[in-house]
Symmetry: C2
Subunit: 173 residues, 2 copies
């Protein structure tokens, strides 16, 4: 199959993208954990870092990123979105949350998600009920939100001096 790429599909544009970025995010968190340990920084300092008093701290950014991966693949496949408790208090806990999310995302086959362009998606965001078709849900809501939280987690750790660079975010290319 060398050199061959299949047509873009709803599966290709979602599950493998989430897998790659969640693996990258987990590796970034591992570097942050080592950074805190080396410098005797209480992990809580980094985990609660935020850019503004009314923005979410690092822990919540990671939880939401993982939840967009879980919720998007589940909704596109038309299965119930599993609920995970938001109770992580360490980098190890966040990495476990990502690992659990990866196992869920990896459980989908292309045929579970392909053809979901026109699927009706309903979700609640705060007090609002949002209705989408599958394709605009993925392209204009799920992916920009997912990337928002992964990037903000990266930026928070970068601002805290953790030795990470753009290639940690993008991964091997």
């Amino acid at each position: 199959m060398k050199g061959s790429v299949m047509s873009l599909s709803m599966y290709q544009a979602s599950a493998p993208v989430f897998m790659t970025m969640l693996n990258n995010l987990s590796a970034i968190l591992e570097k942050a954990e080592a950074h805190a340990k080396e410098r005797n920084i209480d992990e809580c300092v980094l985990l609660n870092w935020r850019f503004a008093p009314d923005m979410f701290p690092l822990t919540r950014q990671v939880q939401i990123a993982a939840d967009f991966a879980k919720g998007t693949t589940a909704r596109l496949a038309g299965v119930e979105v599993p609920k995970y408790a938001d109770d992580e208090t360490s980098f190890a806990g966040l990495m476990q949350r990502i690992a659990k999310t990866l196992t869920f995302v990896e459980s989908f086959r292309p045929t579970d998600i392909d053809g979901s362009e026109d699927r009706d998606i309903t979700l609640t965001a705060g007090s609002r009920e949002l209705q989408f078709k599958g394709q605009p849900y993925l392209l204009n809501f799920a992916l920009p939100n997912f990337y928002f939280h992964v990037t903000t987690a990266y930026d928070l750790l970068r601002a805290c001096g953790v030795g990470i660079g753009k290639m940690d975010y993008i991964g091997a290319v």
Copy 2:
């Protein structure tokens, strides 16, 4: 065509996504410009804000976001990437840069970009030459980079106290 969504395609996953997010980014910059004016803050303070000494400041984040939109659509369509000077020194200048980029991105028709999954893409990043097929280039390089720079621009302005929220980033849904 009410309720109908076409199959996901390379065009749908690129140009309209860039257009939406660049329009959102421009509106965010307009709010930042007004914020600076109201509080008598020299625009340069915001334009040069950065999260770490070795990260790019706001101006460069916006330029790079715009360049990913321009470069990605051009490369997927197989046309030369136009070069724009990186000489903006004001929010108005950055909004013009985005407007010029939008005109370029809007010039592509779906047929210019659709079917580019397997197209060979070569580009240089720093001193490295990167080679991709069109689909992984879009999904694993261009989009994560584009969202990285849009989000970082948003986060920088949010950290500076500009009155923006997540809906400014996502836009009307």
